[in-house]
Symmetry: C2
Subunit: 578 residues, 2 copies
């Protein structure tokens, strides 16, 4: 019986099998973006079994030149012919880049999801929206728990990050213990007073770590990431100086930041209003689940806030990434009906622009200043700290665990490269460090790591409600259309002679300002006449091609622009035309 058939028939449990002689494979998935951030696949194969787990199911955000794309999901083709082997999906924390693709994944896979309470709550919202909640088993785990998933024993350990209830994973496999840091930083004084689980890391080290997969997001940042508590002082200053309203924008999921604002508001005698659906929902859930401690009397709604004296109010909102449609973006452009920026307002952007968003964030800051606000942002006061470990913390993690093999993940290639250099600087042999890209298969035995082939895969774009239909060809067209627009020429010609019967109709968008381009259009008509009389009557296809060619040339010579040009030719019998 071959392996595949055996898996299909009856799925033997790990207890029945000889597990000692297999290999462990780890594959970071997720297209061409940050390595292993959105999804990782761990599988263990013996001669007669295959078992696997999925870690995280997140989305990437499109880059500025991926026009029209809403978000990107991991390319998980690799998993599709291994569906039977999957023992479960583990989500390390509740951020979009780790949870956002959960509905896409769970449409094809029916296995339990394991997550801590807050993460589970955030996943439930997504699965409900996708009408999948009833079909799926969600298992709540706590940091400190150990669960068995086929041949894997997974220990969840607490890490600090910019959302509560984040975990890292210690995965005991038949070939050894691998540790996955999750997104983490070593914060000794986190807002929720729950420091990282150093004891567990030490214990892992005692047992011997085969491989460490560690967060590289801040691998190019020297030093140690500041504790969340430094923000308390910055907020205290803002609250002491502000004469009018305070408006603080941050990520909707940044629960600890919302707690810090609430603490400052309580101290300085301000009430707190929250705007933005996602933040309202998150605050509600986090309070119910005990992750956020705000007295009921502190929270008011916006209309109430508008009636209070400005110096008695703090408003929390979304939109700190410069998104034009989020609350802060609408405030900046005066398109938020319920609230208007006024002289004396203090606006705080408690966030760091995600790469690619810098320009939009700066634009919003300029607009808020233009409207009279005093704007405080990361550049001018410590109102934000990163949720990811800097170089000294990365060194500490490696030295706490002393892994045999090291794989930097969660970062662009430049971050992984630097993280790899950090590891070798600590004495990990260069050949034991694997700087790899998504889709690369790493194979482990108890004393080896091999970098294998890269499985095919790229970006899977989600645009509107359609997944994966937009590829390079459509993007290239969008780029051309976005740059120079298009021109359509509709020609009506005689069926027999192919002579032009009417003046060509020209439609154009995004090319030139048509109401002021009469001369250009007139010239285009002439170019069409010229090429048609020069070429004589050819086939309809020839006519179309020569007109398109002539117009492309004409428009380029007149404007140095290259709009897409399309010809449509209608043949009619001349004597009978309308």
């Amino acid at each position: 019986m071959n392996k595949r058939n055996k898996r299909r028939n009856g799925k033997p449990t790990h207890k029945d099998r000889d597990l000692s002689s297999g290999v462990l494979r780890v594959v970071p998935l997720g297209g061409l973006g940050e390595v292993g951030k959105n999804m990782m696949f761990v599988e263990y194969e013996t001669s007669d079994s295959l078992d696997s787990i999925i870690i995280d199911a997140g989305i990437m955000f499109p880059e500025n030149d991926m026009l029209g794309i809403d978000y990107i999901i991991p390319d998980f083709d690799y998993i599709m012919d291994r569906l039977d082997s999957i023992r479960g999906v583990i989500i390390t924390h509740g951020h979009e880049d780790h949870t956002g693709a959960i509905a896409h994944v769970m449409e094809t896979i029916t296995v339990p999801i394991y997550a801590t309470p807050l993460t589970r709550g955030l996943l439930e919202v997504k699965l409900k929206r996708a009408h999948l909640l009833d079909d799926i088993t969600l298992m709540t785990v706590q940091a400190g728990d150990t669960i068995r998933m086929g041949p894997f024993q997974v220990e969840f350990f607490h890490v600090c990050h910019s959302i509560p209830d984040a975990v890292g994973l210690g995965i005991t496999t038949p070939v050894g213990l691998i540790v996955h840091s999750g997104d983490f930083k070593f914060d000794h004084t986190p807002v929720d007073n729950w420091p990282p689980d150093f004891a567990k890391l030490a214990e892992f080290a005692g047992r011997g770590v085969l491989a460490l997969f560690a967060d590289s997001t801040n691998a190019t940042t020297p030093g140690w990431t500041s504790s969340e508590t430094v923000i308390n002082d910055a907020f205290d200053q803002v609250f002491r100086k502000a004469k009018g309203r305070i408006i603080i924008a941050t990520f909707a999921s940044l629960i600890s930041r919302i707690q810090q604002v609430a603490n400052a508001a309580l101290k300085h005698g301000r009430k707190m209003a929250i705007v933005g659906t996602s933040m309202i929902d998150n605050v509600k859930m986090a309070r119910q689940m005990g992750y956020l401690h705000i007295p009921e009397t502190m929270i008011i709604d916006l209309s109430e806030a508008m009636r209070m004296r400005p110096e008695k109010v703090v408003i929390m909102s979304t939109g700190s990434q410069g998104e034009p449609t989020a609350v802060l973006g609408r405030l900046a452009s005066g398109r938020y009906r319920q609230l208007e920026i006024q002289e004396g307002d203090t606006v705080v952007l408690s966030s760091h622009p995600i790469p690619g968003n810098e320009e939009m964030v700066h634009r919003i800051i300029n607009r808020l200043i233009h409207r009279g606000a005093d704007v405080i942002y990361e550049r001018i006061a410590p109102v934000h700290v990163s949720g990811h470990a800097s170089q000294e913390e990365l060194k500490l993690l490696i030295n706490l665990l002393r892994p045999q093999f090291f794989v930097p993940v969660h970062g662009e290639l430049r971050h992984l490269h630097m993280h790899g250099k950090i590891a070798t600087s600590l004495g990990i042999p260069e050949e034991n460090v694997a700087v790899i890209e998504n889709g690369t298969i790493l194979t482990f035995t108890p004393d080896s790591m091999a970098v294998g082939e890269r499985v095919p895969g790229g970006y899977v774009f989600v645009d509107g409600s359609v997944v994966g239909d937009v590829g390079p060809a459509v993007l290239r067209d969008r780029e051309m259309l976005g740059r120079d627009g298009f021109v359509i020429v509709s020609l009506t010609v005689d069926h027999n002679t192919h002579e032009l019967l009417e003046e060509p109709e020209i439609i154009s968008r995004g090319f030139v300002y048509m109401p002021e381009s009469d001369d250009l259009i007139q010239g285009a008509q002439e170019a069409i006449d010229t090429v048609l009389s020069a070429n004589g009557a050819g086939s309809v296809d020839d006519m179309r091609a020569s007109v398109e060619g002539a117009l492309e040339k004409y428009f380029y010579s007149e404007t140095r622009r290259r709009p897409m040009v399309f010809g449509i030719v209608h043949e009619i019998a001349q004597e009978a035309r309308a």
Copy 2:
């Protein structure tokens, strides 16, 4: 005789006139971008005279969402009905954002241009390319010179910046002395050994400064900008460690950086090849003019470099801003025929990404690493320093000059706002600080500054060879086309009944991947049939509108995308159709 006629007839010189009772106006121009960076207008008006000067004539680079725009020139409508008053154009230094619009300006204005030798050299190239060089008087000035321009006496003083031969201006006007810092930093140890002219600044202070206009680019950066010399050590390290070729990318105009690379190459026994037309041209000119000191034997061409041992070569290139078509971008994507990145190459990005370019720069770094290069950039080693003054330098400038009025310029509103705060923190009264936007008229008398109206104006986009035709409407269309593409439906209907005679022809680009969208197109055909049979025969316009509406709705419900939909209706007599 009114003022205007008087100016037209015979232009009295300043000596003939009573200049004591006029007002001075200063207007930063340049659309909605960085204030006064690209152009400033200074005019002095009495009851019977108007005299003015233009400072700088630069371009802005488009933001990421200004699709298809090549660059932006200042909106100088304000100047157009004052052409007779202009005494000259002063260019403070040779960077694009101060020189790039010179040809556009000199097409309408025939006055002399005043610039230092290197700046003049760079301007000549531009004017020659625009076939304007023969019509224009270029006057060479040196730092330290004083020239008279109508009622203005202009003193040029040396400043340090990231291009040699940069100057600031002391402009003695009938109402007082105004000082314009130009782009500057206080570098005590510049590469060309020419420190800033502190003595001149002290002298200005002694005479009394009415108003200071100062560079705000780095107003949000604490401390003191590092001297260019710190780069020497960083380069020294790079050259000592590199085992193979070194490729260093920077701005083509950053002459001092090129000198530093040449110095390091000389010290470490490497020959230097330069690639990229603009850098080759600049190096040639700067060497001829004595701004760059590289022995002839040091410089080799690329083909020679390719034949030498890798550790004997350093290659300088353009493309440090991530531009995909510049040398570094082509190296990163393997599209530079003459040179290919290989294992062992060290690539240095000696630059800082201009806001909005971060993503492209990071992408190029990742690609270079992917190709096997070791990439050194600002984030991981001090291989670049800014050319602009940080907060402590800004304070020093203000305290050296102790101006009565202060106007932060050269920055986004957020920079000006911070620079304004810095000035007030030094004791300049808040009401004497003007944080203004482009187009705002400042009026000075010997003891007052008034912030006036904002003259109408916005972005003037240059796209291809056409200036100013692309406005918000075209950009909106480009954005829509870039996001969701378009669909054109060509309908052939009976002239009398308006019945559909043929299956509608559908053309689409940038919307969906057409080869795999048969079902969608089939559905669109059906939607057209449905709406046309439901609505019955209406006018051609009604038909078109209802088909467009039905398709927009259909496509949105199927894909959640909103392509532009256009209908073209051809009426023919049914009995006679081809």
